[in-house]
């Protein structure tokens, strides 16, 4: 099933700093909820392992994350696909854009994702809420990581 989500976050750091952190495996790993492993394969590719729980389905996803359409320090597309074994699969991407605002950066994102298997069968009512929470948690963590005072 398909899912769409978008949002904006105001960050305290300038776009250049945010851009750097958005390309930094350690920052991303610390920010992605449930992320156990994020290994850089190349400048634009990572191997990831993350545990996600949606309703009755808890799954450990293994997959690849790619960065494309790089336009530093303004925007990129982050996409990935993961297999969660019998729980099913998830794949999707987000367009992330940065714009200077109020001395910091306004980060806006637009997510398109698809899930399948048991996740779709059992969790579909919960997916949007769960995905929103994952996104909120990610940006809360990410904001803390890029905060120059933090």
């Amino acid at each position: 099933m398909a899912m769409n989500m978008s949002g904006e976050y105001q960050l305290a750091a300038p776009p250049e700093t945010v851009w750097e952190k958005l390309n930094d495996a350690e920052t991303l790993k610390a920010s992605i909820p449930g992320c156990e492993q994020l290994d850089k394969v190349s400048d634009t590719e990572f191997q990831a392992v993350a545990t996600v729980k949606i309703g009755p389905v808890k799954a450990r996803f293994k997959g690849k994350v790619h960065l494309t359409d790089l336009n530093p320090p303004h925007s990129y597309r982050i996409s990935g696909e993961g297999e969660g074994g019998v729980a099913g699969f998830a794949k999707g991407g987000a367009m992330v854009a940065l714009a200077p605002k109020d001395g910091g950066t306004l980060l806006s994102y637009n997510v398109e994702a698809q899930i399948g298997g048991k996740l779709a069968q059992l969790g579909q009512r919960l997916v949007n809420g769960a995905a929103k929470k994952v996104a909120d948690d990610f940006f809360k963590n990410f904001a803390a990581a890029v905060n120059p005072l933090g």
């Binding site: 074994g85 019998v86 399948g116 298997g117 048991k118 069968q121």
Partner: protein, 788 residues
Amino acid sequence: MSATGIGASVRRKEDQRFITGKGHYTDDISRPGQAHAYFVRSPHAHATVRGIDTAAASAKPGVLAILTGAQLAADKIGNLICGWMIHSKDGSPMNMAPHPALAAGKVNHAGDAVAVVIAETLAQARDASEAVKVDYQVLPAVVDPAKAQAKGAPQIHEGAPNNTIYQWEIGDSAAAEAVFKSAKHVATVDLINNRLVPNALEPRAALAEYDDGADSLTLWNTSQNPHVARLVISAFVGMAPEHKLRVIAPDVGGGFGSKIFIYPEEVVCLWAARKVGRPVKWTADRSEAFLTDCHGRDHVTHAELALDDNGRITGMRVKTIANLGAYMSTFSSAVPTYLYATLLSGQYEIPMIHCAVDAVYTNTVPVDAYRGAGRPEATFVVERLIEVAARQLGLDPAELRRRNFVKTFPYQTVVASLYDAGDYNASMKKAMDIHDVKGFGKRRRVSARSGKLRGLGYSTYIEACGVAPSAVVGSLGAGVGLWESAEVRVNPAGTVEVLTGCHAHGQGHETTFAQLVSERLGIPIEQVSVVHGDTDKVQFGMGTYGSRSGAVGMSAIAKALDKVEAKAKKIAAHLLEAAEADIVFQDGKFTVAGTDKSLAFGEVALGAYVAHKFPTGEIEPGLKEGAFYDPTNFTFPAGCHICEIEIDQDTGRTEIVAWTAVDDFGVVINPMIVEGQVHGGIAQGVGQALLEGAVYDADGQLVSGSFMDYAMPHAENFPSIKVDTTVTKCPSNPLGIKGCGEAGAIAAPAAVINAITDAVGHENVTMPATAQVVWAAVRKAKAVRAAA
């Protein structure tokens, strides 16, 4: 009528066992050394399988084997088949695509099995399945039957261009065209018959055991027809010859059609049991049941009814696209053709009918027979059309029905059915009286005073049960005959075992079949046991579906009882030293006519086995007779259901406030059981009309895949249902029985939607008519009225 004979509301003998947890279902059975199977299923609706890596999973604790489709093919295990050949209108045979029990290189629906893990425990099998790595190349999917044949739609099977299985028709399209050109009035409906999940209480299960000493296999499974399962698994799948394969379907907790079919899991368990050398058990969990039990219905239909100025129907035209899912299940091809279009005349004299049906593949679980199988779909078309026509013509819907009812029998419809007996006006009149239709206007005004919309809907349905005779179904493409068999074994002390080829999974055969024996032999039902569901015990039989067990199965028993009685009379004549012609058998006693010399049934039974007092050269010892019975026609139960509903305009919530069902089932064996069947059928029909809907998203994910998202009817959805009957005896079987198992599910959807559309004043209400659907229809109707 005796206390336990035909017509008595005898309490069900089997219920004590069922309601105290003493039933024996497949999952209750365990064999020494039993291992467990867990299936690895595709999360994708449509994908190429590029590879399966089982190395890591094989090393997990407790794993005995991990088997894939490639091994299945290497072992030459054959495909599952659809056993009813349908030819397209151009004469070409249906496009039956290969259906391997484990996917061979490609998956075609979410839940399609790609591998099976056999392990010591279920938990170990499940854990190891997590480590099976399947490399999928995902392909675009199609799930909507109306889009399956479109240009550019994903192609599911190589041998089925445009995903088309067949393009079938009945009737003369040119003649129908002419009727519609000159028609005075035409009523039109566009209908979606929603897709349903059967949801039997007991999920499917299979336990297979291989005896290498005897080189034979035993399968315990949740089947409505164990002999048919054995035949298909032997003759087509090629697992083992029939005499080396025993199939036992013990207590089965509900079927509704979904357990007729031969499924991949039972084939895989048999194959794995032989391969691993251990008994292998699989029991579906509820999620698997949603994903893999055959679904029901899923039609998209455009239909028209032509009428003259007097409200007489002059013709009908129907175009249906039927979704059969990813593979053709066992009887799927027959459901939208011979079980559907042959009922489109309803209870009416219709001089011209044309129906065209396209059956299509989609990336969804296979669709096959579900309670009513084709007949609910037909009734929904006919009864929605006649209701819409009555409203257009400004006629009372009961009056329009009355004008067009078939009144003389036998009646040959133009769609091949020969209605043998009925009195449609009698059942409608009785239903209208019981329901107090006359008082409806007043009740509607009372509802209006509290802001509620009240509606009344009729459904004067007809169905065809006990599909037969075998020669006719054979000429229509069936791969089997649809007779039934029985064996009556009288034991020396006078107790009786009835062996039947039918299978009980909730119907109460242990009671009703015993009632027939009680009636005929004059013995209490406690002295009768009914044996079914084991291919080693029972002679070949066709199983239970399509409300056939009474009309066909009991007729076979009656025929065997005739033979028992005839032989017992001969023996009684010797025992009583009288002429055979003078022996009268009545109330369980053999009497020499005009004397007080008599013997009880049990005494004659003993005499038959002792065999001291008759010449065994002329009369064989023992008292056991068998019969195969092939009916001369289908039976045609029919009736009138009236549904009355109230709608809360603000929320769109529909409440059923009254329901009357008057059915003509012919001779009724047990009125209490019949009433229960009617209640259950109505509950499932109301479920379809108001609540249930299997929903796939555009990618082929089943998003109504649990009871969180798939709404089943609850007791609170129903008023007290008034059930009554009218009786015309069925002339095509010796007992006059018609069958009652599906009537409620066939009648109910049209009755509910006719009531809702009556209340709302707007015809476009789709099923399930959830609060949201009805709320939108109320708004739409108001907008249309405001614009007028």
